[in-house]
C-alpha cells in the first residue's frame, strides 16, 4: 500500500458502493493529509510602518494563524533591524487611549489573532540600521516558531 503522504492514518478501502462514496472518502483522506502538512504558525497581512522622522520606534501589524490543535504562546520576538520588539495592546476605554505591554501573545488552537491599529500590535524600538525591510522571528521560549520578512510602509502615503 502506497500512502500519498507519510503522516496519513487513512488507507483507501478497495470496495466502494458508489462513486459518491469513493469521492467522500477521498475528500476526507485529502483533508486529513493537507492539515498535516500545513505550517503550524502562519503570518499574513503584514504591515510594518516606517518610523516617523526623529522617532526611534515603529509599529508592526499582522495576522497570526495557529494551524495546530495546541495553544501557541509567543513569548519572544526579535528583529535584526531593531534593538527590541515588544508586544503591546492599545485599549480605548471611556474615550481614553491607553497602552499596555503584554508578556506573551497567545494564539489559540486553530485560530487567528489579528494585530491591528488601535488593538494589539508589535512595537519595534530603536532601529539599528536604515533598511527598506524588516525581519522578525517569533519564539516560544527558545524554540523558533516562525521567521518573516516584510517591507516597510510609509504612514503618509
Amino acid at each position: 500500500m502506497v500512502y500519498p503522504c507519510d503522516n496519513c492514518v487513512f488507507s483507501i478501502p478497495f470496495v466502494f458502493r458508489s462513486k459518491t462514496q469513493l469521492m467522500l472518502v477521498l475528500a476526507v483522506f485529502l483533508a486529513a493529509c493537507s492539515s498535516e502538512i500545513k505550517p503550524p504558525l502562519v503570518a499574513t497581512d503584514i504591515v510594518i510602518t516606517e518610523p516617523v522622522p526623529g522617532r526611534e520606534m515603529s509599529a508592526a501589524y499582522l495576522s497570526l494563524t495557529n494551524n495546530t490543535n495546541e495553544l501557541i504562546d509567543i513569548t519572544k520576538i526579535t528583529s535584526a533591524e531593531f534593538d527590541a520588539v515588544e508586544i503591546h495592546e492599545s485599549l480605548l476605554e471611556g474615550g481614553i487611549a491607553r497602552m499596555r505591554q503584554l508578556e506573551k501573545l497567545a494564539v489559540p488552537a486553530n485560530s487567528t489573532v489579528e494585530l491591528r491599529p488601535g488593538g494589539k500590535h508589535l512595537m519595534l524600538m530603536r532601529p539599528t540600521k536604515t533598511v527598506d525591510s524588516v525581519s522578525l522571528k517569533f519564539f516560544a521560549g527558545t524554540t523558533l516558531l516562525l521567521g518573516i520578512n516584510a517591507s516597510i510602509q510609509p504612514r503618509n502615503d
Binding site: R55, M99, G118
Partner: protein, 203 residues
C-alpha cells in the same frame, strides 16, 4: 377624460415629482455619522504655548481657520500616528474633492517634557504641509486640556520610561476660535470627509 384634463394631470404629476426631488436634495446632508456638534460653541481659555517654530500659541492662534486638534505624543507608536494618518488622509480627500475650506491639523503634545518644538516639527511635517505642532509648559497644556475636557496622565512603562494615557478625541475649533464639535475614537477617514461639511455648514 378630455385632452385638456389629461394635459393638466400630466402637468400636476410632473410638478409633484419635481417637488419631491427638490425636497430630497435640500434635505441632504443632514446628520453627522460620528461628529458631535456642540450646541453652544465654547471659547478657548487663556493659555500660552509654543509651536514647532518657537512662535507663541494662544487662543488667538485658533482664529481665522478651521482646526482639527488632537492631543497626543510623539513616542506613541500606535494610536497617535494612526490618528494623524487618518486626519491627513481625510484632508487629502477634501483637497481632491475640490473643497475650498480645508482644516488645519494640530497636534498638542501631552508629553511636552520630551516633545521639544524640533521633535514636534519633524513629526507633524511628516503628515503633510501646514500642520501645527504645539508644546510648551506642562501647566499651560493643562489649562487648555482642562477647559476642553481632555484627560491625560503619565503611565509608567519600565525604569524611567513612560507612556501617556490620553483622550483619543479630535476637537473641531471653528474660525471664531470656538470649540464647536468633537470626533470620538475610533476615527475613520470616511467619517471626517462626510461630517466636516456638515459641521462647517452648521456654523
Amino acid at each position: 377624460m378630455s385632452r385638456r384634463n389629461i394635459f393638466i394631470a400630466v402637468l400636476l404629476g410632473g410638478a409633484i415629482a419635481a417637488g419631491i426631488v427638490i425636497a430630497t436634495m435640500s434635505r441632504a446632508p443632514v446628520e453627522p455619522r460620528s461628529a458631535f456638534i456642540i450646541p453652544l460653541p465654547r471659547e478657548l481659555p487663556e493659555f500660552s504655548l509654543v509651536d514647532q517654530f518657537g512662535e507663541p500659541v494662544n487662543a488667538d492662534t485658533f482664529h481665522g481657520q478651521w482646526d482639527l486638534v488632537f492631543f497626543g505624543f510623539t513616542q506613541c507608536p500606535d494610536i497617535c500616528p494612526t490618528t494623524m494618518q487618518i486626519l491627513a488622509h481625510a484632508k487629502r480627500e477634501l483637497i481632491d474633492a475640490g473643497s475650498n475650506t480645508l482644516p488645519r491639523i494640530v497636534l498638542v503634545s501631552v508629553d511636552p517634557e520630551r516633545d521639544t518644538p524640533e521633535i514636534l516639527g519633524r513629526y507633524v511635517d511628516y503628515f503633510g504641509e501646514g500642520n501645527l505642532g504645539v508644546g510648551g509648559e506642562l501647566g499651560e497644556v493643562r489649562k487648555l486640556t482642562a477647559a476642553l475636557g481632555i484627560y491625560f496622565e503619565k503611565a509608567p512603562i519600565d525604569g524611567d520610561n513612560y507612556g501617556v494615557d490620553h483622550s483619543a478625541a479630535v476637537l473641531v475649533i471653528n474660525p471664531h476660535g470656538e470649540f464647536s464639535a468633537l470626533f470620538s475614537a475610533p476615527h475613520s477617514v470616511a467619517n471626517y470627509v462626510h461630517d466636516l461639511a456638515i459641521v462647517m455648514e452648521h456654523n
